[in-house]
Amino acid sequence: MDKKQISAVLKKNAMLIVLVLVYLFFLILTKGGIFKPSSFTELINQNAYVYILGAGMLMCMLTGGNIDLSCGAFVCLLGAFGGVFMIVQGLGTGVSILLLMLIGIVYGVILGYLIAYVHIPPWIATLAGYLAFRGWGTSILSSNSKTGSLAPFPVDFQNIFYGRVFQTEKGVFNVPCFVFGLAMAALVALIVFMTRKNRLRKGYEADSMQAAAIKSGLGAAVIILVMTKLSFDGGIPTTLLWVAGIVLVYSFITSKTTIGRHFYVVGGNMEAARLSGVNTRRIMFLAYLNMAVLTAIATFTVIARSQSAYADVGKNFEMDAISACVVGGVSASGGAGSVLGMVIGATLIGVINLGMSLISLDANYQRVVKGFVLLAAVVFDILSKKREK
């Protein structure tokens, strides 16, 4: 491998390398604390909402750097409704989930229509939600509870969004969990080689056998490591299944479907996309409808984990999702970015947050670090854009 090739590989995988280095840094700082099984579970549970909202924010940003400022406040509002449905009214878990999804869809339709067809700038349309929803959610909570919060959610709701699959005692090796991990690792390796084979068959450029082997080996190793850790921490968190499912679905949509490619085309040049026959309004509408639905799913994971609905839930969630996307290499002008990049960005921020809390770093310093990470990502985006020009 010559210098140019090494440089290209390093550039392509820069954020992944940064993630590994940051993890190693905290591994030393926490004296191995971040490598404990409970830390892996905590990383997934604490950051599930970032992955889910990040997937939605990615689709919005792909269309041209558009964002959704209302998702955090909408989590508060949906949490309040969820508390009223499940705790105050005593409606069943299934019915409540359907009602909350319906509210998410209605909001998504209204928001998507206002942005795509009435042409209200997204940041204004979603700013209205940012300002209104938290107040609305807080008033629902205070009118239904003396403490201003509603708890606890039903056990079956918590099991769906904050439970475990193949549950066993912590510290005891969970064989089904490990076997599941081996199966997933084998599947990833198979997908990498099948993709390479398909590309070669169609005459496209493909990774060398060596590169494919390294990719699949590393991917499989990470999966086996994570699942082994989870095997010692009582089983697979259901949050991981939700996150993995959403990440896989959106990865497929953005890379293998026509409509996924349309999101990139609209973000690359909307006028050219429109003249090429892409229904740009429909893409914008779908981006915001999709964001609202994913916000509903993120809400379920958050309120199941906190086991309550309260007024401060969802604070700064929109900035966490935007940070995950920007750190993960999603372009602020749209048309570029990937689900994998967003996942790496979200994981990097999650590792930093978890590492800082494991070393009991002062909350003020944690804010400083968060700010610098976001600033560094934005500066990197600005410099990349200038280099392109």
Partner: protein, 84 residues
């Protein structure tokens, strides 16, 4: 709405968020159970305010530049229509 303008809004929002972080640090200046000394706190507040304002100013520059690019794109279209 051009991508340039959307980008400027995102940059402006990040700038505002950095100023908000500075405000949060300022609000916590009376905390007693913190390891952050007042001097360090004010240094970070100043850094975030400066970075936030710089990003906001850059966002305005990007917004104006994308506005000019939009005008340039529309002018040939108008000339074509006039020729017809």
């Amino acid at each position: 709405m051009t991508n340039g303008k959307n980008r400027s809004y995102l940059l402006g929002i990040v700038g505002a968020y950095l100023i908000y972080l500075a405000y949060q640090l300022f609000e916590g200046r009376a905390e007693t159970d913190t390891t952050m000394t007042p001097a360090v706190r004010y240094v970070f507040i100043a850094l975030f305010v400066i970075a936030g304002i710089a990003l906001a100013v850059y966002a305005v520059i990007v917004w104006k530049q994308s506005g000019k690019e939009e005008e340039k794109e529309e002018k040939p279209k108008q000339d074509e229509t006039a020729l017809k």
